[in-house]
Symmetry: C2
Subunit: 457 residues, 2 copies
């Protein structure tokens, strides 16, 4: 009977005869027998296959190369060797798909840079078997958290005429022929697919608010785009975001949700990716599992931005960037503050001028009910706010910022038609993955990353 | 204590005192008392609130308008009225957010066309409370099916230089200034964000295959784009697709998976959206629940395309489009064939010339191992195929079709590096939703639909 390797490890299989199909990760040949390090991709742990010269076609089998796909029939036996409890004693091995000697994924240490160039083959390595399975399981954790807690999953549009963050770093989307524009010397926007200038969404928040004001609790989980020309370890031009929005929810309740969601996801991944997390703990970030377990047991600190600045100023440290009241904080400050409190910190009530237009203005008229979550070892992991529920204040703020009201009347109307206190937050999925896996470059947690100048596959 | 209405209906609540926050869907006032049809969006069923003139601020409360948000404190009591078992006897009602008289969502029948124009408010109507909750629950059903069965969720790229289907209906994505192109009279592609021409993905299949050949079982679930200028009930330019890919899986096993997934999702939605489905059955498609229940109990027929043509030809029917061997079939044929077999039908082994380049060529050299699933009342719901695993045959087919090999070397290499029999399929999520909800226009199952000339919100 055909088996997934995952099930062979799960069940009590000793003595059972099985058929498995998968790939040769490493083939060690000796004169009278051989060992195949075998993976079918269904679990992180490989199965060792042993065969000896009593098998049919022993000589042919010895020629099977790394990377080939094979079908093996044999019996599960207790392993005498180190590093595994069971192995497969092969009675028959068939080559399904050959693999040439110049196969790039030979069983040796490859640099991450090399693997990025072979992005389509890297899921076959231990590192990316771990990272992309954690990615998949973490995605399921997020859906499970929100659906179990009564949130409606909203698919907000990707092509949009709105620049939600007012950041202006949008990709344009068009069906106009650029060469023809050059030739004609004019842009006929009325002939474009949507008859106007549109681009790729930088956020789904504004549309998600319309769902929150109908379903009370909603979340998005989808791709987001930024045409930002940054070549850093944490920036990609295409990434996935989670954006929950909750009606009748103030900033404090918002923080409750942020904390409970993060803990749920971390626990879910630790529970469901044991082998992967052990591998990452051993080879990528020493202490990873401890770090995450500690988070589960932390009570997150909640502190005003102003107090944070005071703590930073009183620290006696010579900062690269001097902390200032009313200003943003730098990476070094984030790091210090999580160490100071020895755990995750919600920094709340930020100066309005460094935050987005839709955040609720506090009574001091200077700060907004915004919050960033800083976690030890990763810095900012999420950001959120209570949304401005007052029509007048929102309009005033948009005027102050010289924002156009074009195409945002519906957003303003949410405040007129049964508006209410509501809040939400955003979490970059890749930022979470960097934190969960210890892998420090966003290019290594996305299957096919897009960065300036890079759009392969 | 604050309650979600959902929990009030779920728990044995009679006698309990609760606080609820939500919206007035309809306010019926009488001289000495009033009824509020109340929804907080957490479940489909509304809660009736009753109050009488002994309540504080009776006169103020009587002025509360439809659409307003309110906070109510009261006691859950058995209802004397028709249509509900329990109601809330209010002891205190506070207005949170007012709503003007010209609020568009008054409690009366609105046309779907009108509601499309008010897309940001339509989630507040019964129809869209039902449709968008089914959408959310169906999405969870899909994730649950695949994750429970060991599939890895792959986020394939949305911005891509590949035209996966060879269909050429891609949106272009650019950071070049079109006005500047017109002025300069030339397109400086090297200055574009990715340094080359890129567009929005029409499929994630090719990249998903790279995951299947590493993880054995993978699926995508994400947005897809087609710049197709069709204004039909079933076409949108932005929609969500599910694309599973499975290694060591032939066409027959592929059909097993298609059938089991569809049945799982249908059952999950029927189980988890009882009130919504009853509403849709009553007001949108009579017999909807029966149709779906029947599907669950059907064994899907499997039949070759050629045999289908024979059946159509022998039917004695005067067709609008004459069925022909070697050609595609029309909507009327799809309908007939599901009625003929009285259930879902897999039509397999299609003429190669009407199918995609990557489908496995059968030994007859004329057909490919492709399959479409036709379901009663909806026509084609999914399409899939065994993928061509032979490097030579794939290259030959691409040459026959004059396809460029540019940027597809990695896809071909999958056949060289431990290739194997593998299969997959695609399902348009909105097509599934149309089938599940009975709502017949794709514009009404997407929160903010994009069609030619339409890109609001």
């Amino acid at each position: 009977m055909k088996y997934d390797v995952k099930d062979i490890f799960k069940e009590e299989c000793i003595g059972k005869e099985v058929i498995i199909e998968g790939w040769v990760r490493n083939h060690r040949k000796q004169k009278e027998f051989g060992f195949i390090d075998f993976s079918d991709g269904t679990c992180f742990t490989h199965l060792q296959i042993v065969y000896d010269n009593l098998i049919n076609n022993f000589e042919e089998i010895q020629k099977i190369k790394n990377g080939s796909s094979i079908c093996v029939y044999g019996q599960i036996v207790k392993s005498e060797g180190k590093g595994q409890n069971i192995e497969l004693k092969a009675k028959d091995i068939k080559l399904l798909g050959d693999c040439p000697d110049d196969y790039p994924m030979q069983p040796k240490q490859h640099t991450r840079e090399f693997l990025r160039e072979q992005a389509y083959l890297r899921p076959r390595t231990n590192l990316f078997q771990a990272v992309f399975r954690v990615r998949s399981v973490a995605a399921m954790a997020i859906h499970t958290y929100f659906q179990t807690n009564g949130y409606v999953y909203a698919h907000t549009p990707l092509i949009t005429a709105n620049d939600g963050e007012g950041a202006g770093q949008m990709f344009q989307v068009t069906t106009l022929d650029l060469e023809k524009i050059a030739k004609l010397g004019k842009v006929e926007l009325d002939k474009d697919f949507y008859g106007k200038k549109v681009g790729l969404a930088v956020t789904g928040q504004l549309e998600a608010e319309t769902f929150a004001l109908a379903f009370k609790k909603t979340y998005t989980f989808g791709p987001t785009f930024r045409a930002e020309n940054s070549n850093t370890k944490t920036h990609a031009s295409e990434f996935w975001m989670i954006e929950p929005e909750i009606a009748f929810c103030d900033l404090n309740e918002n923080m409750d949700i942020m904390e409970s969601m993060l803990k749920f996801v971390v626990k879910y991944v630790l529970d469901n990716c044991k082998s992967e997390m052990e591998f990452l703990d051993k080879f990528v970030e020493k202490g990873l599992i401890n770090k995450l377990t500690k988070l589960l047991n932390s009570k997150f600190t909640r502190i005003d931005h102003e107090e944070v600045i005071t703590i930073l100023k009183q620290s006696g440290i010579k900062w690269e960037f001097e902390p200032e009241y009313g200003k943003d904080i730098a990476k070094e400050h984030e790091k210090y503050i999580t160490e100071y409190f020895n755990g995750p910190v919600f920094i709340k009530n930020w100066p309005k001028d460094i935050k987005a237009f839709y955040m609720k203005l506090n009574e001091d008229n200077e700060t907004v009910a915004a919050v960033d979550l800083e976690v030890p070892g990763a810095g900012e992991l999420m950001g959120g706010s209570q949304r401005e529920e007052s029509y007048e204040k929102l309009v005033n703020r948009m005027k102050e910022l010289n924002m156009s009201f074009d195409g945002l009347d519906w957003y303003l109307n949410l405040r007129k038609y049964g508006g209410c206190v509501h809040s939400g937050f955003g979490m970059g999925f890749e930022r979470l993955l960097i934190y969960l896996t210890g892998v420090d470059n966003i290019r290594d947690v996305i299957p096919y990353p897009r960065t300036p100048g890079n759009c392969e596959y």
